[in-house]
Symmetry: C2
Subunit: 327 residues, 2 copies
């Protein structure tokens, strides 16, 4: 029986994540039985949503819940062929043997790199697409503000809104990301909330108010957006990254929702399975036409997943945070 590695949560995090909350554990790889396949992980996705699960449904001393792309390296299941690419949501395991029920075949467009299937054409992309278009009910030409616009989801949200002819303001926390959003993603305005007075800057950048505020942060950014919401404005709540670690100020401006009839609604990417065909078609076209630009932050090495997750909450990524495990 060969050995492999898994990333485990070893204790419940208390506030800010620490490396000691995690371990790189050795595990056995059983022989591939009848009807089973062995999968080698190639890429793993590191996402903000993982933080809340650490204090919720994530089991201790078990593989960290998360997704990735793998390659079938041995198949005794007629539904899979050796060498085939698959999406996997089996937790952070370097190699695993499975009956294949949790795998879904990945059909790669040869003109696009594999990593894009982990963000713009993966969970990140459909989160942005469904959150903005279905939960946010975006209409062409509306006024849009995107929090964490330099992040994986936010950068896609902002660019879809630009494709739809909207006036798009991005909020970000570094000048590098601000420059990328302005010069590469071509947003109408970008605000660095760490160096600018956010309420004043947002008011100036969104002179026609806000029809859709895409929420990934909570706290002070939500409080800056709420007074500017237009009547029947929408706030799709993708994340509230400022509150996951238990810190941050409370939100004080929710009363603005009443007269403006603002709708604020949480969602998760798995709600959007019914949008998948439209999403893949739209997004593949946009990527090939160069209408959606992206950045990746790739850490090399399976064992660096905890560092990547911690770094995500310190703003160390530009665009999608990925772990490269194998080619």
């Amino acid at each position: 029986m060969s050995k492999t590695r898994e990333i485990h949560l070893v204790r419940r995090p208390n506030g800010i994540l620490a490396l000691a909350d995690f371990s790189v554990a050795e595990a056995n790889v059983p022989a591939t039985g009848d009807g089973e396949v062995k999968v080698q992980t190639l890429i793993m996705s590191v996402d903000p949503y993982m933080r809340t699960r650490l204090n919720a449904d994530q089991a201790l001393n078990a593989p960290l819940l998360g997704g990735g792309i793998g390659r079938v390296v041995e198949s005794r299941n007629p539904k899979f062929q050796e060498g085939q690419l698959v999406r996997q949501g089996v937790g952070f395991r370097e190699v695993h043997v499975t009956d294949g029920k949790a795998l879904s075949p990945l059909v790669r467009d040869p003109a696009l790199p594999l990593s894009v299937y982990m963000h713009a054409l993966g969970g990140t992309g459909i989160t942005a697409y469904g959150g903005l278009l279905e939960i946010g009910k975006l209409k062409d030409g509306e006024q849009v503000v995107v929090s964490t616009a330099g992040g994986a989801v936010g950068s896609v949200v902002a660019q879809i809104a630009k494709i739809k002819g909207c006036h798009v303001v991005g909020l970000t926390g570094t000048d590098e990301k601000a420059a990328w959003l302005r010069d590469v993603a071509r947003l109408d305005a970008v605000i660095n909330y760490k160096t600018q007075n956010l309420p004043d800057a947002l008011k100036a950048a969104a002179p026609k108010g806000i029809d859709v505020y895409f929420e990934n942060v909570g706290g002070a950014q939500l409080d800056a957006a709420l007074p500017l919401m237009n009547v029947h404005g929408r706030v799709p709540v993708c994340g509230m990254i400022s509150t996951y670690n238990g810190g941050g100020e409370g939100v004080r401006n929710l009363f603005n929702m009443i007269y403006k009839r603002v709708r604020m609604e949480g969602f998760v990417a798995t709600d959007f399975a019914h949008l998948n065909a439209a999403f893949v078609s739209d997004m593949t076209g946009w990527l090939k036409a160069g209408k959606i630009k992206y950045e990746e932050t790739v850490l090399n090495g399976f064992e660096r997943a905890p560092e990547a997750l911690i770094g995500l909450f310190e703003g160390k990524n530009t665009g999608k945070m990925l772990i490269h495990v194998a080619d």
Copy 2:
């Protein structure tokens, strides 16, 4: 030209309302011209929504924006007859002359008292009805929590939910209101948030979670409800009375909206004109059948409107707060 009185806002309130923010101003009553009617105010409605307008669209040194019921005392307009009852939204004026465009005839069911047309069969009632059924999308038998359940809107919301077979928990701030909600309105559970530990008490009172949290308060009550919301739970936001005066703690538990796909949505009663026929029919039936109980707090005297509005934010009312002006 005879004289009348008006309630004016004379300065923008800063936090807690003060009597000195208002004045009782003398005004002239012009002669009733061709096409005009003269209306004597009988009852005025004092509502939480009025607070936010004081720092928004309420003009200074002009009649306080608010509604009531009046009687036509002189008519030179063929659409109105002397003695006819009308709903009026002309601001707090004791007598006024108008072209009648802002008046709507009130058809009173003789079995019901006039005052009920200011709450259960008025703006309060349709706010409760539309907020719970249209924005809250209440389904029969669901788990419901109502804030300010002892208030004008909340007490109707709670009883409609009971009529729909729901498990209903009411939140209130006095033992008297708690007793009324338990013994008269027959709620399943009542919590006095001032004397009980709200998060613990709510968890115990809502063992199957919350499908609809009817929001009138904000702050700590919203924070207690959010972690208990069921998947696809709804939070119709009718008011956030704890935040109107600029005080109160910020809301920290909004992140619970994400995985639970909670929808939180503001609304105002004027959104529900399309529901009016169904509302009047349902509510008249419920009132006559004794299925909707109500309390009123009536202050006698036009000049007491500021006192009533201030008292509303000090919890001095039981049920609907009204000013009786004339018979």
